[in-house]
Amino acid sequence: MANTTKQPIHTDILCVGAGIASLSTALALLRTLKAQGKSVPRVTIIDKGRSVGSHVLSGAVIDPSGFKGLLTDEEFKKMPVEARVSKEAFHMLFDATHAMRIPWVPPLMQAHGYPVGSLTKLTQYFAQLCEKEGAEVFTGFAATELLEDNKGRVIGVKIGDKGVGHDGQPKSTYLPGEEIYAKVVVLGEGACGILTDKLIARKGLEGRRAQSYAVGIKEVVEVPANEARTGEIAHTFGYPSDWSTYGGGFVYHVSPTQVMICFAYALDYARPEIDPHLLFRKFKAHPVMAEHIKGGKSVAYGAKVIPEGGYYSVPQVVADGVLIVGDGAGLVDTLRIKGIHIAAQSGRAAAETLAACWNSNDFSLAALKPYGDRLKKTEGWKQLKRVKNVRAPFSTNLILGVMSAGCAWATFGALPFWPVPMEPDHETLLPLKGGKLPAPESVDASPTSPDRLTDVFMSGTIHDEDQPCHLKILDRATCTKCIKLYGAPCQRFCPAEVYRLEEGFIHVDFSNCLHCKTCQIKDPFKNIEWTFPQGGDGPRYTRM
């Protein structure tokens, strides 16, 4: 074959993952150096999704503070987000029918005037800006391995092979993954990044508390046109979460005909019978929510985990040859569940450091270290610190959580001053009550309440089915134990119906996978390993 022998590729700055964090790094770096009249490095950005933005998912109500100094005023105005928040509400949902509208929106959550729209489109916009500045963006290429020299310094990445059959044998289209070498690798893989987490574990970069996550499940609903509601948003708390699980949802009217609706559920839940997709459907059926999507039709679907550990779970963000930016470092404000602006700020902090490195041609660990300090000076970091203990008490009790949020607001985050402990998400499941599953609840399908597989179809996800299964079940014997003890919770926690129990055997329909990583996080025995499928496979979000 003509294209099987390849020279290694060399670049200066290599960003893994074309999300807001990586793109902000590239954009700020190139602009900073140009403003200084300096030469610019070659900046290469790769992403495993088929196109830019096809693997990102967010609300998104965007805190615009993150883009200050990064985008020009004109660029900020031209952002492809259709609406600005014009009306906000905050509801406490008590049960399937009862709710209370909180008379005021909690001060730390106000978002009036914030842009609201699709993160996919925003990401595509950022990529265009980067390309204009001379960065190269390549999609459909998964970095599957960090390359290190013999001193343990990261010197590049290896791209995953393509054209490998289900039996692991090369097919006629076999294309071995190339190696890319760089002066520094910027890891912007997003939440639960596989390379990032492996690096953190290998180098002992962990934060003070294990990262914890929620899974966010989202649909775009097309509704009969209603100009007046554009920009209206509502957040909820409570139902259908139970009182000891952090869960909430939102509905955003991003255009007269488009509503984004999402429910996020913390993965430290205890009951193995929980099915987050079912909770999402119950959430949409609640009168407070149903009213927003009445007469509509769900047209797009996606799911992604959100790092919720906050301040205490942020790892060290610098290692030899590598910087970690954005969600991959857990940089999310855990009260507002907002990370886009912090991703952008972390990118800028990284860019300042990299500009200095480039100018002095010194990318040593010592020269990279200042990124960590710069990150701590960002607004986003201060927000993270202020709400550092808001999330943890919610795992015990909702009221305790609300009190801690109030406490954080009143004391500017000073209290409580110790890291409230949290259990890792995979350790929180309790055995099935009485050893068997309660009868499954059923919900009637409707245009705004499609079943899980219809939703999976609408995510556009697709994987070449003649490739090795990328979701590895490490030990089948453990499955047997898990089925008995927890009733195979993978069947329910996966929002894409990848796992199916039939006659005692767990089937893995990996082509459904949304790359959300819930399975890797929540499996009680850590028996599922998420590996990279062929680059370009996975969801094809166009307006998430």
Binding site: M1, A2, N3, K6, Q7, I9, I46, R50, S51, E136, F138, F141, I159, K162, G163, K171, S172, T173, L175, E178, I180, V299, A300, G460, R540, T542, R543
Partner: protein, 263 residues
């Protein structure tokens, strides 16, 4: 050997929906891709290049953003590409499109050895442009090609027919349309993409290829779209449950057929 491959950028029809009021395509959230059949045509060309050495030129006609499919072709191994783009081509039907592409091919090379197309494009599904070009070039045409071998100015192809495979031999030049039963298209490597992204893509208009205005675009298109409509949704039909009493169901079916005058 010089092989010319013609490719088209199409909407990814897996995601296309029809606006029920205007009966037009809803493009929101729909990606554009290289027409899948054209990928197979390109692969056949690249395989011949691997085996015998050949120059592979890829031509596309479309709006400026169609450039991306040409870059993809380069990333996979095409040697050079041309984008035919001009307002004068707008509204072209299959005849005007065939004419414009044939003109472009003549400009690239008056005597190419092979001109390859996908069997049809997945948007219009006409399968007429490949054959149209062969007429304009006055070169023999082979359709439904699934494999190509060449030697000494002759070709041997297998064509996928409904009831089996035909083997056809002939002398080059020839125009061929390729089916999905051909070899799986190769992936573009990262270094391939890196090179392709840096290449400037030549853009040719009607004048550049010496196309007569009267034969381009709407003016050159005898096809007129009178009406666009969505086909009526299929109704469920009548179900006869024969699980309890099969003979009663059979009788009911026979009666229904007789009533319709079928049996």
């Amino acid at each position: 050997m010089h092989i010319i491959v013609c490719v088209k950028q199409v909407p990814d029809t897996a995601n296309v929906r029809i606006n029920p009021e205007t009966n037009t395509l809803m493009r929101e959230g729909v990606e554009s891709i290289m027409n899948p059949f054209d990928e197979y045509a390109l692969e056949e060309a690249l395989k011949l290049k691997d085996a015998h050495g050949a120059r592979v030129t890829v031509i596309s006609m479309g709006p400026p953003q169609a450039e991306v499919v040409l870059r993809e072709a380069m990333a996979r191994g095409a040697d050079d590409v041309v984008l035919l783009t001009d307002r004068a081509f707008a509204g072209a039907d299959t005849l005007a499109t065939s004419y414009a592409i044939a003109q472009a091919i003549k400009k690239v090379n008056a005597k190419p050895d092979l001109v390859l197309f996908g069997k049809q494009a997945i948007d219009g599904d006409t399968a007429q442009v490949g054959p149209g070009v062969s007429e304009f070039l006055n070169v023999p045409l082979v359709t439904y090609v699934k494999s190509i071998t060449v030697s000494d100015g002759t070709f041997t192809v297998e064509t996928q027919m409904d009831e089996g495979v035909d083997v056809i031999e002939g002398r080059m030049p020839a125009v061929m349309t390729v089916v999905k039963e051909a070899s799986a298209p190769r992936f573009a490597s990262l270094s391939g993409w890196m090179a392709a992204k840096k290449t400037a893509i030549p853009r040719w208009g009607a004048k550049d290829v010496g196309a007569a205005a009267a034969m381009c675009g709407l003016d050159g298109s005898p096809t007129k779209v009178v009406k666009i409509f969505a086909p009526p949704t299929k109704t469920g039909g009548v179900r006869m449950d024969g699980r309890e009493e099969p003979s009663a169901a059979v009788e009911a079916i026979l009666k229904a057929l007789q009533d319709k005058g079928v049996a």
